[in-house]
């Protein structure tokens, strides 16, 4: 006699209370409100009145938008939320952002996952310097709101094009209502660089800096921070676009559970090679930004090309983001899956 019992734990809720739910679920769109000609704010509420999961400031929600699954920063303080707010920039490239702009109206249902924290504040920070460029204002607003609510202090630098500044009113109102939050604005590249240089030079000991914005602004942000003598551990950022990657070198991946050897050619990512070999790997952005496809590995020659892992995590050499990172030419990486 053979007795076989199959238990499916994929739908098991390890934390039974609704306020712990972060899996795939449906929320109702309560409000769709244009903030600028290209940015629209969506406010999502539970369909059945159950509580929403709280989140760390700077967290994002994954939204299924037609064919795409995109990550959008949540804009509130994250403490005991009654709704989730995301502000979406229309990219105009037929992607998920366009779908949300064109197809979604109040009352619709959206499939979401998360929230997930990839840009959380350092908990023992004495003060925060928050830097936003364009639509990068969304996680910065979340940080500023949480700091205001918890009684901390922060200086917000917002770089925007006049007439295209989402949430500018919210930030001004926050600064007016809280003496410990100040807002400085810049509307040109020159002003932004000057403001960054001036403000990085005058933050109290124990400050941490956070920035979200276009790549060029984040480059400047890091350079100014380094020139101002800030240790890297104090300088945090979140990217929403990634630089173009070169095809990379050929290498071999060995799947530890099966011993199967996968030859990964240039131009093919380790993620693609694993998926084609039937090894399931959760993934999302496929450009080394979101951290979803981080897998455990063993190997001496890893070329880390992601924008997520810290220097220490890279040096440890025991994980990589398989959508962009690879083995060095001709080497072998053991994938612990």
């Amino acid at each position: 006699m053979t007795l076989s019992v199959e238990v499916d734990i994929s739908s098991h809720r390890f934390h039974a209370h609704d306020a712990y739910r972060t899996g795939v679920r449906t929320l109702r769109v309560r409000e769709v409100r244009p903030l600028t000609p290209e940015v629209t704010h969506f406010r999502l509420v539970p369909v059945d009145g159950t509580p929403l999961t709280p989140y760390q400031p700077g967290s994002h929600l994954i939204v299924t938008a037609g064919e795409h699954r995109n990550a959008y920063s949540l804009v509130d303080d994250g403490i005991n939320p009654a709704s989730y707010g995301i502000s979406v920039l229309r990219r105009g490239q037929g992607g998920g952002s366009d779908w949300l702009h064109d197809r979604v109206i109040a009352g619709d249902l959206l499939e979401v996952e998360g929230p997930r924290a990839m840009f959380a504040p350092v908990l023992d920070q004495r003060h925060a310097l928050l830097v936003a460029g364009g639509i990068g204002v969304t996680p910065v607003l979340s940080h500023a709101r949480a700091i205001a609510r918890l009684g901390g202090s922060a200086e917000v630098l917002y770089s925007y094009r006049p007439g295209h500044a989402a949430h500018l009113g919210d930030l001004r109102a926050l600064a007016d209502a809280h003496g410990s939050i100040t807002l400085r604005e810049a509307t040109t590249v020159e002003e932004t660089v000057a403001l960054l240089t001036e403000r990085f030079a005058d933050q109290p000991l124990g400050s941490h800096a956070y920035a979200c914005g276009p790549l060029a602004m984040l480059e400047t942000y890091q350079q100014v921070a380094a020139a101002a003598g800030w240790p890297r551990a104090r300088v945090h950022l979140e990217r929403f676009t990634a630089p173009e990657q070169d095809p990379g070198s050929p290498f071999t991946a060995v799947v530890a559970s099966t011993g199967r050897r996968l030859f990964v050619e240039p131009g093919i990512s380790l993620l693609t090679a694993l998926l084609e070999a039937g090894v399931p790997v959760p993934n999302l952005c496929r450009q080394g930004v979101c951290g979803e496809c981080r897998i455990p590995v063993r190997g001496d020659a890893i070329e880390h090309r992601d924008l997520v892992l810290s220097d220490d995590e890279r040096a440890a050499g025991d994980t990589l983001l398989c959508c962009v990172s690879r083995g060095a030419e001709g080497t072998e990486i053991e994938v612990l899956l």
């Binding site: 030079a201 109290p204 000991l205 124990g206 101002a228 003598g229 800030w230 240790p231």
Partner: protein, 190 residues
Amino acid sequence: MTLTEPVTEVVPPPAPSLPDWPADPPAVDPSATSYVVVAVGADAGTREVAGAWVADAEGRAPTTLVVLDAVADPRDRAELTEALERARTGVRVMAVGGQHDVLAVLTAARDAGAIDAELAAYCTHTDDLPMYCAHCRATHRVEARPGEEVTCPGCARVLEIHAHFTRALGSFLASDAHAAGLPGPTGARP
């Protein structure tokens, strides 16, 4: 399944949390935009190291030299606190003196928000240390080393100084050296 090879347990080397002092004074970090050099005590070695640091740092960025007789002195303490409060992120704090004083300065700097990347220190000697008594719950300066026994200046118990340093308190942990032989709550000896 048969075991063909003996299983040996791998025991990691003991990793005591003792301060790891550099043998030579560390170099001035050139990436800073200001410096606070804190020298505690009047011995020649301290003056020499502080002088060399200041000479190097002054050529790079604004530098504040804080010279203290004793970190426990309220006026000296206030001077250190004021220098740390004035400091902006981008500063590097460099401390030199005996082990007890250097640890007290580093603890004050951490309390003011500094992280490891912003701190450098050099000990001219390790004859004394800040000791936290687990019984009277205070930190005292004692002239002893980890593993030795001392009489607590606070509660007069005989304490063993353990090879355990905690940054949160800026002290070595010490506890009653003879607690195992003390009578229990019922008066029975173990």
